[in-house]
């Protein structure tokens, strides 16, 4: 028999976990993500996506990266070039340092609006807007940059005040001790289904902390470093990171690091119960198995101690 109980266990609150007294195979619904967190999560999904796609549109205006304050056309770190042969055929060349790759069709040269090969860094299906349109790409980018920044400030403020960062994200000593086991579990795609699934593991904690405080803040600062007006006050930071073109390069790298994070994040969601995870982030309710061991425990009080969250 399957039974369900509903418990309050919002991330960042200290509501005690009460295990179901019902026999094996019982599951319970836990209120896991509060409404502000869910809202801010989905606002972030939209703003990050549009900033990424419009960012690639902006990148296409100068599809090359350099270090330093000015760009050196002969020594780019990365360049998405197009080369034309005598017959007018275009070849897309991706240059990374001294290495060259033929990436015709995707990078350097891809189909334009009329279906013919066109010289452009990233293909139109990855840019907002689709056709080469720098001024419109900037409009999208700055609009969603504001949403991303304001949403991010709200998220960090809310998470600090409600102790979401301190309780759910900041690793405990026990977390650090369990890092080896956590890595082993991750590479074997093993996920907890019981009460343990309600708390973030050490790798999740580190990933979220790095994404929020290093990637999130870093990409905004590197974006501001590209603004000539802001550089009148930010130039010490710009020079510290290696110059305006270096800031542009770091901005680009962090953007792709965000993509890598999102791919891993979505993959983990898919393999750890996509429906349950999505319900958790949409309605707030997340279903967990009630651990058999704990069900066997005679007194629920003992269970509370074992599964408490600090």
């Amino acid at each position: 028999m399957t039974t369900e109980t509903v418990t309050e266990n919002v991330m960042g609150t200290n509501t005690p976990v009460i295990a179901s007294p019902h026999p094996v195979k019982s599951k319970r619904l836990v209120y896991r993500h509060s409404l502000p967190i869910r809202l801010m999560h989905w606002i972030n999904v939209i703003s990050l996506s549009l900033m990424f796609f419009s960012g690639l549109q902006i990148f296409n205006a100068h599809p090359s990266l350099s270090w330093g304050n000015y760009n050196n056309p002969d020594k780019p770190l990365l360049a998405l070039d197009a080369r034309e042969d005598a017959n007018g055929n275009l070849t897309g060349i991706t240059r990374i340092g001294k290495h060259e790759f033929n990436t015709t069709g995707v990078l350097g040269v891809s189909k334009g609006p009329d279906g013919t090969p066109t010289a452009r860094g990233f293909p139109s299906w990855l840019t907002v807007p689709g056709p080469g349109w720098l001024s419109m790409g900037r409009q999208w980018h700055f609009f969603f940059a504001w949403i991303f920044v304001l949403n991010g400030i709200c998220y960090i403020g809310y998470s600090l005040v409600r102790k979401h960062v301190q309780r759910d994200l900041w690793p405990t000593r026990a977390d650090w001790r369990g890092i080896g086991k956590s890595i082993a579990d991750h590479v074997r795609f093993k996920h907890p289904h019981g009460e343990e699934a309600l708390r973030y593991n050490i790798l999740q904690r580190l990933a979220y902390l790095i994404v929020i405080f290093v990637f999130g803040i870093g990409i905004v600062l590197m974006g501001l470093a590209m603004s000539p007006r802001m550089d009148a006050v930010l130039s010490p930071m710009v020079e510290f990171v290696g110059g305006r073109q270096a800031a542009r390069t770091i901005h680009f790298i962090i953007a792709w690091a965000f993509v890598a994070f999102v791919l891993i994040h979505v993959f983990e969601v898919l393999i750890s119960g996509a429906f349950n995870q999505l319900r958790g982030m949409i309605t707030g309710y997340y279903k967990v198995d009630v651990d058999p061991v704990k069900v066997a425990a005679p007194e629920p009080v003992a269970v509370i101690e074992e599964t408490s969250h600090d």
């Binding site: 205006a61 000015y70 050196n72 689709g130 349109w133 720098l134 409009q139 700055f142 000539p228 007006r229």
Partner: protein
């Protein structure tokens, strides 16, 4: 397995395609750019708060000068007026100052040099994303404004250029009086200790220290002080602004 993979790939590309197509619809609508453009007004106001109007762009050293200074936009103006000036090595060149000023006039490069002559090594940031560093020698615009006397009604300085874009649309740009009076706003006649090359805007170009490259108008023909740029070009304050770029080019 293959079916699932194909399905996944189709789903991802389909979603990306729908998203991009949806965004293209919004970009082409009449309301979309207006809504998105709200952020640009916010950029200008917040940046003015965070980086005050008196803040100075970083000045670099000779060692920082970039080996090349990429010329962008027009590199050889084809108007007869410009061609005639160039044929004579710009000896007959005079910058006209018109509009809301007490003493309109015409100034040769030597006249400008007598008003003010300064050097600064600053970075040029193109809206496309690249940068270059050059050593500029020129006349502070505020010295010229003081010389001609600015009418209190004037709010903007418009720079009319000698080059045409799209065959017959003259390039122009504008800044407000505050930006025009910034110490790093200069009318430059030398780049890296040599007279400005034609491709970089000979004989005279604008340098605004804290704005993007499209503000740095080349081939200056005349300067006009106005209370509004609504009747110039398509009314947005500059050639690129008329193509959808922001008048405020600080980011």
């Amino acid at each position: 397995m293959t079916d699932r993979r194909t399905f996944l790939r189709m789903a991802i590309m389909g979603t990306a395609g729908l998203l991009v197509a949806g965004c293209d619809k919004i970009s082409q609508s009449s309301w979309g750019p207006k809504v998105l453009g709200k952020a640009q007004g916010l950029n200008r106001r917040v940046q003015a708060l965070l980086s005050p109007s008196s803040a100075m762009a970083k000045e670099y050293t000779e060692a920082d000068i970039s080996p090349t200074f990429h010329p962008n936009g027009t590199t050889m103006p084809d108007t007869p007026e410009y061609q005639a000036l160039m044929a004579n090595n710009f000896r007959d060149y005079k910058l006209k100052v018109t509009g809301l000023v007490t003493k309109p006039g015409e100034f040769s490069i030597d006249d400008l040099k007598k008003l003010d002559n300064r050097t600064q090594i600053t970075r040029h940031d193109c809206v496309e994303g690249w940068s270059a560093i050059g050593k500029w020698q020129g006349t502070q615009l505020s010295a010229l404004l003081d010389h001609v006397g600015v009418d209190p009604k004037a709010r903007f300085v418009v720079f009319h250029c000698l080059d045409n874009m799209d065959v017959d649309t003259p390039y122009y740009e504008s800044v407000d009086i505050e930006e025009a009076r910034h110490p790093q706003t200069i009318l430059a006649f030398d780049l890296n200790d040599k007279p400005l090359p034609v491709s970089n805007g000979a004989p005279l170009r604008l340098r605004v220290g804290r704005q993007l490259g499209y503000k740095q108008a080349k081939y200056l023909g005349s300067i006009e002080l106005v209370d509004s740029f609504g009747k110039i070009g398509s009314g947005n304050g500059g050639y690129w602004e008329d193509q959808g770029y922001e008048w405020y080019a600080g980011i």
